[in-house]
């Protein structure tokens, strides 16, 4: 029997579960009406993540449209992720964390070497140092996508705020062991992710944390859904989505 993580879910609804170690990368397809529960297993995890419409991967998560449609600079329960085509890729149906970063971007090879030193596969085998950018390029490459498609990403479980002068601040300890977010897919989506550390994480050690993924049949957003009705912009984005998938 595979290990079970999201034990609170109705077992009849769970499609699959798996653990993703820290520093790893993963991709998969989530169908409309399926929710992906992402759980921070130890606390302090970061998940650099992107979404693409599985049927037309030119349609993808759009940071700016997500932010300006909902007048927000971060994600939490009740918010949704917009595609660049005015539709909802997925909704944050539940969230115990309260803040997921949308503006910090992703770590890269140069940064990881500067911050944590070099650790090559040759000497370290699968404990070698990975970085978010190359990890996402790895996953994208499996679908014929690449650097051109690596647009501004989400960082689940990480919190970055902006002060009145525009300065960025990373908040350590935003997410604890067991914190989780439910991403409910409103269209079939390719999900790519990396569990490398956030690029602004001041932790001096290479110490990426593990997460678990659990996919379960939730159904898509109903008429009275709080994400749909959070603002008129979201209502219109759901109308656009349902013209294609309703």
């Amino acid at each position: 029997m595979p290990q079970s993580f999201a034990t609170e879910l109705d077992r009849q609804l769970v499609l699959w579960e798996e653990e993703v170690p820290g520093g790893a990368h993963w991709s998969g397809v989530l169908r409309r009406g399926v929710t992906l529960r992402v759980t921070d297993l130890q606390g302090g995890a970061n998940v650099s993540m992107l979404f693409y419409n599985h049927e037309d991967r030119l349609e993808r998560y759009n940071m700016a449209d997500t932010l300006k449609g909902q007048h927000t600079a971060f994600l939490c329960a009740g918010k949704v992720c917009y595609s660049d085509m005015g539709r909802v890729l997925c909704s944050v149906a539940q969230d115990s964390c309260g803040w997921h970063d949308t503006i910090g971007g992703v770590s890269n090879a140069r940064m990881v070497k500067r911050k944590y030193g070099e650790a090559r596969y040759q000497e370290h085998r699968n404990d070698y140092h990975r970085n978010g950018y190359d990890s996402l390029v790895n996953e994208l490459g499996k679908y014929g996508l690449g650097r051109r498609d690596l647009v501004a990403n989400l960082n689940l479980f990480s919190k970055v705020t902006v002060d009145d002068s525009g300065a960025l601040q990373f908040h350590t300890g935003n997410s604890g062991a067991g914190d989780c977010i439910d991403l409910r897919f409103e269209m079939p989506a390719l999900v790519v992710l990396s569990t490398c550390q956030h690029p602004l994480d001041p932790e001096p050690r290479y110490n990426p944390r593990a997460i678990s993924l659990a996919a379960w049949r939730s159904g898509a957003a109903g008429a009275d859904d709080p994400c749909r009705n959070a603002c008129p912009e979201n209502q219109r984005a759901f109308i656009n989505t349902e013209r294609l998938y309703g």
Binding site: N62, D84, I103, D164, S165, G166, A167, N240
Partner: protein, 216 residues
């Protein structure tokens, strides 16, 4: 980034290239390493949606997240180094008489207009339409895939400490400009924004001028 204003020593009369971009039109041009590009807000409060690509390898392009993260601040102004997705300097902002510029607000599109304003707004002109036409005309294989997070010169999109993001009245005026020196050969892609539904253009899109100087 402080909003200390920095004026340019360059004289418009000595520019090697001058071109007025009317509101609602795109502009695309190669800028060589060492050349200086100025975008001049002719009538004030205009938003100029701008993307940069390495001329040698357009897969290397301006990266908004990397740029703001490496300088530790979301606003672009004099001193900002515009970084690529490979972490390389593409251009450096060397003069700025506006004070700050946005790179989180993105570009308008027919589809985002339906979400932000009303389903019936689909048929209004948008930046993405300008970008797509400019790329089609440039004809080097670039497409919607290459439209990543852009800069909005002269646009004011503050983020509050609580994480709210809003579009506010512009802080630019007629005659204000931003100037940058190319650190590599770049393609610049501009949409002079036609948006009529929010205050980014003071509801009145107006022309801007693009000037280029050869290395001094």
């Amino acid at each position: 980034m402080s909003s200390g204003l920095v004026e340019s020593a360059l004289d418009s009369a000595s520019a090697a290239f001058r071109h007025v971009v009317p509101a609602g039109e795109p502009f695309m041009k190669e800028i060589s390493k060492g050349q200086v590009l100025r975008i001049l807000d002719l009538e004030g409060n205009q938003a100029v949606d701008t993307l940069f690509y390495s001329a040698a390898d357009p897969e290397e392009r301006y990266d908004a997240n990397t740029t703001i993260r490496e300088q530790g601040n979301i606003y672009l102004t004099a001193g900002t180094v515009l970084l690529s997705n490979a972490g390389n300097p593409m251009l450096t902002i060397v003069a700025d008489t506006c004070g700050r510029h946005d790179t989180l607000g993105g570009a308008c599109s027919a589809e985002s207009n339906t979400v932000r304003y009303a389903l019936e707004k689909r048929h209004m002109h948008s930046c993405r339409d300008s970008f797509l036409l400019a790329l089609a005309e440039w004809d080097n294989g670039m497409s919607k895939r290459d439209l990543s997070s852009n800069i909005n010169f002269f646009m004011n999109v503050p983020v509050t400490p609580e994480g709210k993001l809003t579009f506010e009245d512009g802080i630019s005026e007629a005659g204000r400009y931003v100037e940058m020196r190319a650190e590599m050969d770049v393609l610049v892609l501009i949409s002079n924004c036609p948006q009529l539904n929010n205050p980014c253009n003071a509801y009145n899109p107006t022309p801007v001028e693009v000037l280029v100087w050869d290395p001094q």
